[in-house]
Subunit: 148 residues, 2 copies
DNA sequence: TAAATTCCTACTTGGTTAGTCTGAATATAT
DNA sequence: ATATATTCAGACTAACCAAGTAGGAATTTA
């Protein structure tokens, strides 16, 4: 569960690379990060469409970040490669599950979405690119749900 | 991203059903929860292997919870249907990504795993089966990561 | 002994992910 | 100018996995 697609992993690695090199061609990123060249081309295209990177075409062109990495949230990146986070369909559509007990689980899924979203919004690209970044040792998630 | 497989959704719905009915046949659960019969059979088999439910074979048999729903964590359920939560392969194997900057993102993924795990462990089946269950309105996830 | 049930194994099917291929458009270095 | 290095675009393919089916065997009770 929660297997993150390689596309997103590649995207993040590429962006981290750009944090450190300022500017780089697809080929150089692909080699340094061992990402299939043509695949990475497509991925950077998506990141460009999402406004996270800027491309310079032609000889001695390449990619660079569209803004400071402190201003790029990981939620931005994930949204760029995969769209919104919706653990379960019934968070959008209001079909069967609204009616019966079948959708008692709905608030639970919604809580999961909130927790994941909050985490992704709490981390910036700049932080990831910094070698010292570490998750905190201990804390209970318990406070993030209220009982009815 | 984070699309939860229907198998897991079905598993949870089935378990919630068992919280409320005490005991039920696959057929009755399948009908009430609109889950494909044969598929649900397989799913309940997994839940049984995981020790979450108990089966009674033969006529007037069925399934019931193996223990009180207060003692069943949602992490138990998810683990039963999908195994461990590993957003990214390199959280297990220590290959390429350990070496170079390629795996600067690793702590980030680890943090995600921790956040999700913590949430799933913070909610019990009993709570989900209760109509009043609701995620809390506001709180920052920021406290769950430390900067290096 | 018939009916209702769990259990087991194999199969099918559709969609998604991951990646390739070919080549066009564009800009620069020389 | 022209060769070269790059981004860009779209179709295509292969492999995998989720989702669900099919058929029947094993088991227990009414």
């Amino acid at each position: 569960m929660f297997q993150v697609p390689t596309k997103t992993q590649y995207a993040i690695r590429a962006l981290v690379h750009l944090v450190r090199t300022k500017s780089a061609s697809v080929a150089s990123i692909a080699e340094a990060q061992r990402i299939p060249l043509k695949y990475l081309e497509a991925i950077l295209g998506q990141l460009k469409s999402a406004g996270l990177v800027v491309a310079v075409r032609g000889r001695s062109g390449g990619y660079r970040l569209a803004r400071d990495p402190e201003l790029i949230l990981m939620s931005d990146v994930v949204r760029a490669t995969e769209g919104e986070i919706t653990p379960v369909g019934c968070l959008d559509d209001a079909g069967f599950c609204m009616v019966s007990e079948a959708c008692l689980p709905r608030p639970f899924w919604f809580g999961l979405k909130r927790v994941v979203d909050a985490y992704l919004e709490s981390v910036t690209l700049a932080e990831i690119a910094e070698p010292g970044f570490l998750p905190a040792p201990e804390s209970s998630q318990r406070d993030f749900v209220a009982r009815g």
